[in-house]
């Protein structure tokens, strides 16, 4: 049996040791509290997360986005020729990183699936400690990741997302969209289509069965009906269906004379090619030439669809053929580095990275609430639009002319391009032509518009 002997010295030692053990967790907790917001960069670098589809039907867009994001990071860090930093109207970026910190990035694969995208975003936030997530193609993914970023306390700079819901009923304070939306496509396309094909038309729609497809179809229906067109039928098709023949064949005998394909990416390549194979474009219906319309275009899809897009109308956020200094600067640095002109998803992601970095510089912090305030700004407004909602952060020199990041819903407002598949392309990049630039006033809507109402921006979340 051992005896417990207490001495004064022993008691002191035990006390100190015990105190140290008790104090240790406090020390760690205090360390955590030292950060004012989630993933506050402490060292000499700051990390961005680029979450893009590297597999799935939208993978080609994702690849181009990642190239643009890498280029943006180089330009922010002062490498390369600076691209659109030189033309950007806000002059806070100096090519020395952001707030003096060198920019690093990690990338994730959204697989064009909401759950996979959330998982990769979560891993970038929790494991890699990113302050901002950018990129993505597919509104289903964008809305899912935007929700996650809001909960976590990270800024989400959306990539290619075109559903009205992203800045409509699913809008979030921490999320910002530079890309245009389905409503704007409809508003821009309606008058052009009516002018090209006449007022007396009957249209049939095939629609991707998820948030983007639904709002795209609703927007086309609204603006085409306004031109006097009649809707024959709107048929929902699964994403990634591959063979659309069973959906296409009923179109021929439906009494419609226009087919609207609310499809994107690989789906659009397949549905358009198959529609052409089924002879729809050679067909006469109701005494008129049968026409096909693809409301949302991209260069990559146009390239994939080959000859089938000739003469087909659509809309775009931006195109490398635009004649302005910013576009020329971007096309030059992107083209010289990668050997092909950038797509509109590439431009949108590049612009988003710059806009985020610029907002951090203006706010003087990476704190999401500071960044939100800087991007909302509220001092700018577009000319010629008389609306109380016409205020936010106004900028130009990122390729789209004067652009407003509207503070009411974090949606960008700018001119919309109406495009058409070129009849005689001179090279494989020269497959689309700009038919018309629809001015921002014609595609403007109020934040409480039917197609965008419901939902609440809420308050910025810094994750602290």
């Amino acid at each position: 049996m051992s005896k417990l002997i207490l001495t004064r010295r022993g008691l002191l030692k035990a006390g100190v040791a015990g105190g140290a053990v008790l104090a240790a967790p406090m020390h760690f907790i205090r360390g955590a509290h030292a950060a004012e917001y989630l993933n506050q960069p402490m060292g000499s670098t700051v990390k961005f997360g680029f979450n893009v589809p590297q597999t799935g039907p939208y993978a080609a867009e994702g690849k181009d986005e990642l190239l643009a994001q890498q280029l943006a990071v180089e330009h922010l860090n002062g490498e390369g020729d600076g691209g659109m930093i030189n033309t950007f109207s806000s002059k806070h970026l100096k090519g020395n990183g952001v707030l003096g910190k060198k920019v690093e990035f990690v990338s994730g694969d959204t697989q064009t699936k909401s759950d996979a995208a959330r998982a990769s975003a979560r891993s970038m936030i929790e494991k890699d400690g990113v302050v901002m997530i950018n990129g993505g193609s597919s509104s289903g993914v964008a809305i899912a990741v935007q929700g996650l970023c809001q909960e976590a306390g990270i800024i989400f700079m959306a990539g290619l997302t075109h559903s009205n819901d992203t800045t409509g009923k699913d809008k979030k304070a921490n999320g910002f969209r530079h890309f245009f939306d389905a409503y704007m496509s409809g508003a821009a396309l309606g008058p052009v289509l009516a002018k090209a094909y006449g007022k007396d038309r009957r249209f049939y729609m095939l629609t991707s069965d998820y948030t983007w497809g639904w709002t795209q179809a609703a927007s086309m229906e609204k603006f085409l009906k306004a031109e006097g067109w009649q809707l024959v039928k709107d048929v929902r098709t699964p994403v990634g269906a591959g063979d659309f023949s069973s959906y296409i064949t009923p179109v021929a005998g439906s009494g419609a004379d226009v087919l609207i394909l609310n499809h994107y990416g690989g789906d659009m390549i397949n549905s358009l090619s198959q529609s052409v194979q089924f002879g729809l474009r050679d067909k006469m219906a109701n005494g008129k030439n049968f026409e096909i319309v693809v409301p949302l275009y991209s260069e990559l899809m146009a390239e994939g669809a080959g000859d089938n897009i000739k003469g087909v109308y659509g809309s775009m956020n931006w195109n490398w053929q635009l004649d302005n200094p910013a576009t020329k600067a971007f096309v030059k640095s992107f083209g010289e580095k990668y050997g092909h002109p950038p797509s509109n998803s590439a431009q949108t992601c590049y612009a988003q990275v710059l806009l985020y970095a610029d907002a951090c510089e203006r706010a003087g912090t990476f704190n999401p609430c500071g960044v939100v305030a800087a991007l909302e700004d509220n001092t700018g407004s577009l000319d010629g639009i008389n609306s109380p909602a016409n205020k936010g952060f106004l900028f130009e020199g990122l390729g789209n002319g004067k652009t407003l990041y509207r503070s009411a819903d974090h949606q960008c407002f700018k001119d919309v391009l109406v495009m058409k598949g070129k009849e005689k392309p001179t090279s494989k990049y020269d497959n689309l032509e700009i038919v018309q630039t629809t001015s921002v006033g014609k595609v403007w809507y109020e934040p409480d518009n039917d197609m965008f109402s419901g939902g609440d921006l809420g308050k910025c979340n810094s994750g602290a």
């Binding site: 799935g56 048929v235 439906s254 397949n270 090619s273 994939g304 083209g335």
Partner: protein, 362 residues
Amino acid sequence: MGAAGCTNSCAEPGCGAGTLDTIILQILNGLDKGSAYALIALGLTLIFGTLGVVNFAHGALFMIGAFCAVTVQRLLNLSFVQIDPTRKDFLGNPLKVQVPYVDSWFGHDVGAVLISWSVPLAILLAIPVMFAIGVAMERGLIKHFYKRSHAEQILVTFGLAIVLQEIVKYFFGANPIHTAAPGTFSGSIDFGALIGLAPNVIIYPYWRMVYFLFSVVILGGVFAFLQFTTFGMVVRAGMNDRETVGLLGINIDRRFTIMFGIAAMVAGMAGVMYAPILAPSFHMGMDFLVLSFVVVVVGGMGSLPGAVLAGFVLGILQSFASMNQVKTVIPGIDQVVIYLVAIIILLTRPRGLMGRAGVMEE
């Protein structure tokens, strides 16, 4: 009712094409899908019947076949660069014009025809390549799993399918690659007018017609090979009783290896010809595999005619389920109809439509 007769009532489901037109249309639509299912299921059944292996990598073979078409298209389009100083590229430099080698070797006209016919030409590549892949797969991997359980065979072949997919993705990227049919077959035929119905309603692309005829020829060829050649007779005997055939001094293993190669070849050719219908992508095999496996089960494990019959039946059923009229009544039915039919058939005829007793029942 033709397009002209359709006026104000077209918001109603079922308006537009008449019932007969619609039925003919969906049967035609089902034929090309069914042809692909039948060709894949035939290969699956051949492998299962001879070697007793459930080959989950069979869809990947179909996909590799489709990429044979892409490869030939790329090979024929291999080009050298000619600078055209009169035109400018997107950066304002003189345009670099890609001139295909075949153009400079055979002249532009012959070159253009060769490129246009790249898909049928790809069959010439696919036959030896797919046969070799099949034999290598059987000798290199699958033969080590004959004595293992079906579950383990499924796991290893499934794993192999994923490996093959990733290899293809590495070389060709993730995006579907548009592969055009020969110009001669690029249009479509007005099938309705041909059989005396209203024109402009039943329109069917030439290439899908070609695909159907092609699959009938291949299916006929495989059956004739098994029925009318000594080799086929031995294989059929081996499928019934492998041990006895072996005791007769026949090297049945070698013949089964060749059958595996033939099954791979059939899947590959099915893939080559399908490329113009569905732009090849690395995961197209998986989409077809699951359905083809259901086709095999519905047709009856180990029954060749069953596989073919079920392939066409399920292809056509799937087309009918995608009809607006059906989808208005039961939304989403187009996604699940094949599995529903599989459940019903397995409940009522557990051996499938034409299944034999004693297969997978030991």
